[in-house]
């Protein structure tokens, strides 16, 4: 869980996500719902924590997915209350359906959508820019340049939402979410108005007939908001004029503004003017074109897509993504921005130029970035090993979560988006069936992901009689994002707020699955047997079979018996089987000696690797000292 930093006087060092959370609570929001996803995950736990501290009556909870979270929050706003939904960029794809609809309503209470983008990307399958989604839905978007500004924008986003009856988006990027900065703390503002739902079908039922009214009204709102952004939002949209005659103008949004400011200051360039835009949609076009008209040339810097650039009526002469001056993918890191600027300004390459000696050293010492891998003692590692050993020829679709890292164990063949392990299992079954072929299929999914979007796929597979094995890797938490609770865990976020556990086995049986077996994930032997049996069952009856591999996540620091292990160098033949198919940070290969050994810095004595070595070289250190 997120730890909220301590308060000193009225300032505290907060994570960007904590600053956003603080704003949400202070603004008097009454319902906040989210599904965790990096880089957004710390927002909701911090909302709960601040709500407890400030004594807000608000409801704070995880939805099982982003669509659920969004719709819960939207309904709350229909009553006049302030509400908030929080997710990451790919989460908005899941919530895209209600998001597009919500834009059409004349909302009552302020509704804020916080969507965290991940340029880079550090923990995502895409680099998509949610500001485009704001444009698509025709809703206003705030793009903060720092943690402090993000908190401030929350208040204005709620106010704007209420003033125009429209949902507003706050789109922090990862460098805002996960920046740590000193931030001003405020008090709880009492909730606005009273909670009262008035029956108005013409307002709250989105019949096709309503679109005739709703869409033109939405278009009118966009233009009114654009006018407001031109004139009333100087604190987010402002010019930092050059002190000398300007040789270049830069239009920058979000964290790009912060990056370019530090670079220009560091270089002592006082002949560059910067226009900061905190509201990239709808773009304050007059303000931007006026700035452009006063500059010899203009560069656009924004992450990740050219959202502002695309809204310009005339892009002639603009330096940006459309003409390849700014790269079309990846994060705009200081080094990248410095390169772009140095070229435009005709400067020698600035600081940070790679040293040839350093490159040579890295080659000689074979130093490469260390890839992410499952934690030592992670139950998923054992589950993947069982699955692959049982059916080495199987197709293995998997899902979004820590277990995606099963790719290191060659036990994950395809990952698309949350829940797709189940539906891809169906697809692989159907295509093989239609082609008159047979191949085992074992899909893997986590407990949180199963509830997120695995369930509809499972119901579909039962109904349509798709034969595959679904392995639910239940570690009793949402691990990748830092350990949030989910329906399988049953816990809730606010103090004294009791949840109820939803039983995965019963859910699967309720869907009509006739083979449901639960295995202790560490028990590799039992796991292998269960996978073989499940596949036979699925194949013979043409229906999905479910195995639940259960063992708590190591980040929950479970109490478990310690099994000290060692590699016997006499028996180790250097085949690397353990490295290639078990892939534990505690089990490493000494290239010089051509033997595996236990790296005690990382080994947590789970003992699972004892059953891994085909030559029996990994053994338990017997008894003494226990």
């Amino acid at each position: 869980m997120t730890e909220v930093s301590r308060t000193v006087s009225t300032k505290a060092i907060l994570l960007g996500n904590e600053a956003i959370a603080r704003g949400i609570v202070e603004a008097g929001c009454l319902v906040a719902s989210a599904y965790p996803g990096t880089p957004s995950s710390e927002i909701l736990p911090a909302v709960a924590k601040f709500a407890d501290e400030l004594g807000s009556p608000m409801a704070v909870e995880w939805g099982v997915n982003e669509k659920v979270a969004f719709e819960v929050a939207a309904a709350a706003s229909f009553t006049g209350a302030r509400s908030c939904a929080v997710m990451k960029q790919v989460g908005l794809n899941v919530a895209a359906d209600p998001f597009m609809s919500a834009a059409h309503f004349q909302l009552k209470g302020g509704m804020l959508l916080v969507v965290a983008d991940d340029p880079g990307p550090h923990s995502s399958q895409t680099e998509q820019d949610s500001r485009y989604f704001a444009m698509f839905a025709k809703v206003p978007c705030f793009d903060p340049c720092s943690a402090a500004e993000a908190r401030e924008m929350v208040f204005d986003a709620f106010d704007l939402s209420e003033r125009f009856g429209i949902i507003t988006m706050l789109r922090p990027s990862v460098r805002v979410d996960h920046c740590r900065q000193d931030v001003e703390l405020g008090e709880l503002r009492p909730p606005k108005g009273q909670v009262k739902f008035d029956k108005e079908p013409s307002r709250w039922v989105c019949l096709p007939a309503s679109v005739k009214v709703n869409h033109p009204r939405l278009n009118a709102k966009v233009e009114e908001i654009r006018a407001a952004f031109e004139t009333e939002f100087e604190k987010y949209n402002y010019e930092v004029p050059s002190k000398e005659k300007s040789v270049l103008g830069i239009v920058a949004s979000g964290v790009c503004f912060s990056v370019v400011s530090d670079i220009l200051k560091g270089w002592g360039r006082e002949d560059v003017a910067v226009l900061k835009i905190g509201t990239p949609h709808p773009l304050p076009v007059k303000m931007v074109t006026d700035f452009i008209s006063r500059q010899p040339k203009v560069l656009f810097l924004e992450e990740t897509y050219p959202v502002m650039e695309m809204q310009l009526p005339d892009r002639t002469g603009i330096l940006g993504r459309w003409n390849g001056i700014v790269p079309g993918a990846g994060e705009l890191l200081p080094e990248t921005v410095a390169d772009i600027l140095a070229k435009i300004l005709g400067m020698d390459h600035p600081a940070g130029e790679g040293s040839p000696l350093l490159r040579q050293a890295m080659e000689e010492l074979k130093i490469t970035p260390r890839k992410p891998m499952l934690c030592p003692g992670c139950p998923h590692r054992a589950s993947f090993f069982s699955i692959r050993q049982a059916l080495p020829n199987a197709v293995n679709p998997s899902d979004i979560g820590c277990y995606t890292l099963g790719v290191n164990q060659k036990a994950v063949d395809a990952v698309m988006d949350m829940g797709a392990s189940v539906t891809m299992g169906s697809g692989f079954f159907l295509v093989h069936k239609a082609a008159g072929m047979e191949r085992p299929i074992v899909s893997t999914i986590g407990d949180s992901t199963f509830f997120h979007m695995g369930l509809p796929g499972l119901a579909s597979a039962v109904y349509n009689r798709h034969a595959f094995v679904l392995a639910i890797l239940d570690n009793s938490t949402t691990a990748m994002t830092g350990g949030q609770a989910n329906p399988a865990v049953g816990e809730k976020l606010r103090k004294g707020d009791a949840g109820r556990k939803v039983d995965i086995e019963a859910v699967c049986r309720g869907c009509g699955v006739t083979f449901v077996r639960t295995i202790e994930a560490y028990d590799v032997g039992a796991g292998k047997e269960a996978v073989k049996e499940a596949w036979e069952h699925a194949k013979s009856r043409s229906e999905p079979a479910v195995i639940i591999f259960r063992h708590p996540c190591m980040l929950l620091r479970p109490q478990q018996s310690a099994v000290q292990v060692k590699v016997d160098p006499e028996k180790c033949i250097g085949c690397k089987f353990c490295i290639n198919f078990f892939n534990c940070p505690g089990l490493v290969f000494d290239e010089k000696k051509s033997k595996a050994y236990i790296d005690e810095r990382f080994c947590v004595s789970c003992g699972v690797c004892v059953s891994v070595c085909p030559h029996g070289a990994i053994g338990e250190i017997s008894g003494e000292g226990e």
């Binding site: 930093s5 301590r6 000193v8 300032k11 505290a12 060092i13 994570l15 990096t38 880089p39 995950s41 710390e42 550090h122 923990s123 340049c145 720092s146 943690a147 460098r175 996960h178 920046c179 740590r180 900065q181 000193d182 964290v255 503004f257 912060s258 990056v259 400011s261 530090d262 670079i263 560091g266 890191l333 200081p334 080094e335 600035p350 600081a351 940070g352 130029e353 040293s355 000696l357 350093l358 040579q360 050293a361 890295m362 000689e364 010492l365 130093i367 970035p369 260390r370 890839k371 992410p372 891998m373 499952l374 934690c375 820590c402 990748m480 994002t481 830092g482 005690e600 810095r601 990382f602």
Partner: protein, 187 residues
């Protein structure tokens, strides 16, 4: 002052920036930094940027860091380009021979980087029963011992103590002193 803190996911890297932040806040200075969360933290390379003073961007630009605090020697080498000329490297080493690679030594000499190294794992094995969870505080101690951060052992010690869970406070104080001592005689 600009810091880059690097290591491997699970080594407790984020704790170091929390300590730096707390001290700066008490001194009334502004801070901004950037952390890594999520997938990259699962045993992969981790980098945290931290800037104290009048900055807007959370990221340190290559060639501008005053201090590179490295929990892992390979990660130190991979991120050495972040250090400015005459910057300081405080590093936990596990393979001294590799540090003596001639190209690497040449780069360090050219850039006039001061190196402060300690064998963290060996020290923790000897003094802390091999509990490697204390590596982060050991490195904070080493940074004080090296005298490169402008932070006194006293203020770091107070910040570490306040940010530590109660059951680790005593051990953390011991480890902090251990780190400071290990490095003060270093080169």
């Amino acid at each position: 002052m600009q810091y880059v803190i690097v290591g491997i996911g699970g080594q407790g890297i984020l704790f170091a920036s929390k300590v730096l932040g707390k001290i700066a806040l008490e001194r009334g200075e502004s801070v901004i930094g950037s952390e890594v969360h999520g997938m990259a933290q699962r045993g992969g390379s981790v980098i945290s940027h931290f800037k104290v003073g009048d900055y807007r961007s959370p990221l340190v630009m290559a060639g501008e860091a005053d201090i590179l605090l490295a929990f892992d020697q390979n990660e130190a080498v991979r991120n050495l380009h972040f250090l400015k000329k005459k910057g300081s490297l405080v590093v936990n080493v596990h393979d001294r021979a590799a540090l003596e690679n001639s190209a690497l030594a040449g780069m360090i000499r050219d850039r006039e980087i001061s190196v402060h190294s300690l064998e963290g794992y060996a020290l923790l094995k000897e003094h802390m029963g091999g509990n490697f969870l204390f590596l982060n505080v050991l490195l904070m101690g080493a940074m004080c011992g090296a005298g490169v951060s402008g932070l006194s052992l006293g203020e770091v010690s107070r910040a570490v103590k306040e940010l530590s869970p109660p059951q680790f406070q005593d051990a953390n104080m011991k480890v902090l002193a251990l780190g400071a001592e290990a490095i003060s005689g270093g080169r």
